[in-house]
């Protein structure tokens, strides 16, 4: 894999790196050209990814209000977090959101993918169910904010036709998080279904044929064959959608703004408020670092589940 063998720009390259004859002296290869090709991307990477990552870690150990230079204060921000009930509330609310959002979305996505797999491979159907994903979070949030309005929203109108009392979807603290989660399920379920759908197509037909020969019912086939074979895809999908889900911000920012009371003050929104309305950058950075750690742990755990058995179809 080391690409450091000397290979002059001739036909010798044709077999690719693995086949390059070993034992040549180390050289810089195309380093000069590579530096030119990489210059813009590296500049952006260092200035807007590497440097802020290091600086963010440093800021988390400081008191910094943007007005004067950051003042080192050791672990004070982290100690403060332990006793900050708003921080813990934000974590609880976020987890509640993620569980509802990812749970409902994944089940629906698998269902949609199965239905599509059985019925139609129509590109039009796939395009339609992808459409919500391509519209901005803010747009989706506002359209649903209107549709779910307590007084004149169409959803409550529909409920009244069914004889059900109107629901204050955004105003009731029990409903607020499930509502926000539901809105984002609407936006993401089609996209997630397409990912699962792509995974379904990798399962070879003979597996199903064998199951049919053995007289397995469709229901049994789904639980005993499809789902286990789909697991690697499902775990990847879960890792990616869950990381995204933890970063819920836009929907909350344009609808409830953390309310009612603190019912939807998710961690991203709380960090944002601390940093940009209280200019408490040190503390906000510390919370962002903790969020980073949580996401890293969540992904690692899920990836381990994936690797436990790479594929059941050896």
């Amino acid at each position: 894999m080391t690409a450091t063998t000397n290979a002059p720009p001739t036909r010798k390259r044709s077999h690719g790196e693995q086949a390059a004859p070993p034992g040549r002296r180390r050289s810089l290869g195309d380093l000069k050209v590579a530096m030119i090709f990489l210059a813009p991307a590296t500049l952006g990477f260092v200035v807007f990814y590497i440097w802020p990552t290091l600086r963010g870690a440093y800021l988390s150990f400081t008191e910094y209000s943007l007005l004067s230079a950051p003042k080192f204060n050791g672990l004070a921000n982290y100690e403060r977090m332990l006793h900050d009930s708003f921080f813990w509330n934000a974590l609880v609310v976020t987890v509640e959101y993620v569980v509802i959002n990812i749970g409902v979305q994944t089940v629906l996505a698998v269902g949609i993918a199965m239905v599509m797999y059985r019925l139609t491979k129509s590109i039009t159907v796939r395009a339609v169910i992808l459409a919500p994903y391509l519209v901005a979070n803010v747009v989706v949030a506002l359209v649903w904010y209107w549709m779910l309005d307590f007084q004149v929203g169409i959803v409550n109108q529909g409920l009244s036709w069914l004889g059900i009392d109107p629901v204050a979807f955004f105003g009731d603290s029990h409903w607020a998080i499930p509502t926000v989660a539901g809105i984002n399920v609407w936006r993401h379920m089609g996209y997630t279904a397409l990912l699962v759908f792509a995974g379904l197509q990798t399962i070879p037909a003979y597996v199903y044929e064998a199951a049919e020969v053995d007289g397995s019912t469709e229901w049994k086939t789904f639980w005993r064959i499809t789902l286990p074979l789909l697991r690697p895809v499902l775990v990847m999908v879960l890792v990616v959608t869950m990381i995204g889900s933890f970063q819920i911000f836009d929907t909350v920012a344009v609808t409830t703004q953390g309310g009612p009371i603190n019912a939807t003050r998710v961690i991203y929104y709380y960090i944002y408020e601390r940093a940009f309305t209280r200019f408490d950058f040190g503390y906000a950075s510390a919370m962002a670092l903790v969020l980073f750690a949580i996401l890293a742990v969540v992904s690692l755990v899920q990836l381990r589940l994936l690797r436990a058995k790479e594929s059941d179809l050896a």
Partner: protein, 289 residues
């Protein structure tokens, strides 16, 4: 047709309705007269259909006209925000895709010490949640005096994203090397190979990436909210947030709000209709984004 298949078709039909209805409702409300909306919450057609809401949010009606149709009367100009979104998304997409393609070429085709390690480092950046880098980036943009400027909004995304480099590298690796070798024998340098061979041969993946980048950039809210509040650089998503917070609590301007969201969503809907097949197929292919 078995019972199971019938049920499945019904479910699929319901899904399509659930997916499309909010788009229809946005349209229906945007063409309604806001003062009449509360009286007909269940009307499936626009209530007293009018273009008033569009005129209002595009700054084409007088304050009196706007208020007569239930607007707040505050000056809004979605033409300006539309222009700002176009500027930001276009420059971001062109720069990001081009520079990422250059980098992807260096990772896919050039040989230099430490290449795979550097590539792994680029990919590792995908793990860092945006808010963590956003805070220091805000400080940097502020210290550079770029708050409320297009440069401030565009710069962080203009050079690369790890995903763009990863996506294009995959394609470049798949391109047959023989053409390049022939060109090299003819004395072509890497610059000519990149511009004359690799880019023309990667038209499809570059177009797909450009469309996805454009959509993401157009829909972005968090970063422009932080650095681009002022009207002259305010993009559509930020403007929608402002519009929503300005609308009176007692009688919100729902028609105006839906007209504004329609203006923000329409370019993406058109882009999607034009490239639906390409975008839809890219989901299966690129796997995960």
């Amino acid at each position: 047709m078995s019972v199971g298949r019938t049920v499945a078709w019904v479910l699929l039909f319901i899904l399509l309705i659930v997916t499309l209805f909010p788009f229809y409702w946005m349209l229906r409300t945007a063409f309604s007269d806001n003062t009449q909306l509360p009286g007909h919450p269940g009307s499936l057609l626009p209530v007293e259909s009018t273009l008033g809401a569009f005129k209002r949010v595009l700054g084409l009606s007088t304050i009196e006209e706007a208020q007569a149709q239930g607007g707040s009367g505050a000056a809004v100009n979605f033409w300006l925000y539309l222009r700002n979104s176009l500027v930001v998304a276009t420059i971001t997409t062109v720069c990001q895709v081009f520079f990422s393609a250059m980098a992807a070429y260096a990772f896919a085709r050039l040989r230099w010490p430490g290449r795979d390690k550097v590539f792994a480092l680029f990919l590792a950046a995908l793990m860092v949640p945006p808010i963590f880098t956003t805070l220091p980036n805000f400080v940097l943009i502020k210290n550079l005096g770029l708050l409320n400027s297009f440069a401030g909004i565009i710069l962080p995304g203009a050079f690369m994203t790890p995903f763009a480099i990863f996506f294009l590298r995959q394609f470049f690796l798949g391109i047959n090397r023989e053409l390049e070798e022939a060109a090299m024998i003819d004395g072509a340098g890497h610059r000519r190979i990149f511009f004359g061979l690799i880019i023309p041969m990667s038209g499809a993946p570059i177009a797909t990436l450009a469309i996805l980048t454009y959509i993401n950039s157009w829909n972005d809210y968090f970063w422009p909210l932080l650095v681009g509040q002022q009207e002259n650089v305010r993009v559509l998503t930020v403007a929608l947030g402002v519009f929503r917070s300005q609308t009176p609590q007692g009688g919100p301007d729902w028609a105006g709000l839906m007209a504004a969201t329609l203006i923000a969503a329409l370019p993406m809907i058109i882009l999607f209709l034009a490239f639906a097949k390409r975008i839809t197929n890219s989901i299966g292919f690129s796997g995960i984004k």
